[in-house]
């Protein structure tokens, strides 16, 4: 077999679609099929063949749904919760880590106040206090709301001010309109003050980083 003979790759594809490709070959085969348009088209036709044989072909057969979905996917940003699967610290680039440190420093006061508030909440209401740990998006057990949740959850999961965010959103949910606890007033005002400052610091730091050495 020569390198130009597509059969070995296509045979791998066939076995891959059956879930029968040996584990060491899977990664390479997947990379090929997702990068080679011809192989991708073959995969789509193989799937079509499977559907016909299994009687899964609808009366109105779709021949372009894969492309339609692909185009729609390409026109929107990467799913925001992509970092949920891996710890943010492990995947964040160095500059982001620096920014993290700055943000953490800048928010030390707010976070400590919020942390105190959380401790207080935990004492009072352990069920609610466990909510910040719900970092992973619930899957299709409750599919409808699951679509709306990943981004906001991901943001709070990878954000140093998540405790503050949590506390603010918690207060928004539990406190009657117009009623704020002492803690909420402190955290809210700290939040309002610290955010613009923090943004200022970040942009200043970014300007410094952008300057050539």
């Amino acid at each position: 077999m020569t390198a130009h003979d597509p059969s070995p790759t296509r045979e791998q594809l066939s076995a891959l679609l059956d879930g029968e490709l040996p584990a060491p070959e899977v990664d390479l085969a997947l990379r090929r099929v997702t990068r080679d348009p011809e192989l991708r088209a073959t995969a789509i036709r193989y799937c079509l063949i499977t559907d016909v044989i299994r009687g899964d072909l609808p009366t109105h057969c779709s021949l372009d749904l894969v492309d339609r979905v692909a185009q729609s996917m390409d026109s929107e940003p990467e799913p925001a919760a992509a970092t949920v699967a891996t710890p943010p610290a492990a995947t964040a680039p160095a500059s982001a880590a620096g920014r993290w440190a700055r943000r953490l420093g800048g928010l030390a006061v707010a976070a400590s106040v919020a942390g105190l508030a959380i401790v207080s909440l935990q004492t009072g209401d352990p069920e609610n206090a466990s909510q910040p740990e719900l970092v992973v998006v619930p899957d299709a057990a409750v599919p409808a709301p699951a679509f709306a949740q990943p981004r906001s959850i991901a943001r709070s999961a990878g954000n140093p001010d998540r405790l503050v965010s949590y506390y603010v959103s918690h207060v928004e949910r539990v406190a009657p309109v117009g009623v704020q606890t002492g803690f909420s007033r402190i955290v809210m005002s700290e939040e309002r003050v610290s955010r613009p400052r923090e943004a200022e610091r970040d942009s200043e730091a970014e300007r410094r980083e952008d300057k050539p050495e």
Binding site: L21, D51, P58, I153
Partner: protein, 191 residues
């Protein structure tokens, strides 16, 4: 069985940022999902839109998918919810989820063909079906048996190897050659 393994691999790749891996998942389940959605949204072009939306929702939510259920099970639920939401948004009666085509009112509401559901589409679908079936008929016995045991009976390569008294590698090769033979006849139809 086997599909779940490769679904898991594909899902992981998408979660790592490889969008094209999702294409394979769409290709694998598009017709099942369209068939499912068509139970709720009768109009074929609307069903296609709903199926597309369902896949997009799945794509967006995929980072949070932990693989506690099979991908298709998860996708299936998303598709049903998308279809129900679509009907609600379209201010249609959110259906007693088993529409009866014999019901003339429902047929009138959901069953009419739209412009996009052209006879050409239906003819093409029928042509695809006939071409594949004809190609299977023309396969040598060993290839036909292998592909039928795989696709219709859902047997693993190892089970097929036992049934056909041959090595697993031979089964893999026979199934591949069967697909290639069918594909050779199918491809011109789709080009």
């Amino acid at each position: 069985m086997g599909n779940e393994t490769s679904d898991r691999e594909l899902v992981q790749r998408v979660q790592q940022g490889d969008r094209r891996a999702f294409d394979i998942l769409v290709a694998r389940y598009q017709h099942k999902i369209i068939k499912l959605v068509t139970r709720y949204v009768r109009d074929p072009s609307e069903a296609m839109d709903v199926a597309q939306e369902a896949f997009l929702k799945a794509y967006r939510a995929l980072p949070g998918f932990r693989g506690e259920s099979a991908f298709y099970t998860w996708m299936y639920r998303i598709a049903i919810n998308t279809a129900k939401n679509y009907l609600v948004a379209a201010k249609r009666r959110p259906v007693d989820y088993d529409l009866d085509l014999q019901d003339p009112d429902q047929y009138e509401m959901h069953g009419r063909l739209k412009d996009t559901d052209t006879p050409e589409h239906m003819v093409l679908t029928e042509e695809i079906r006939q071409t594949v079936n004809q190609a299977i008929e023309e396969l040598p016995d060993d290839l036909r048996t292998a592909i039928v045991l795989r696709e219709v009976e859902g047997m693993s390569y190892e089970e097929i190897a036992t049934a056909m008294e041959c090595p697993v590698g031979t089964v893999r090769s026979r199934i591949f050659r069967a697909r290639e033979a069918i594909d050779r006849q199918l491809k011109p139809l789709l080009d």
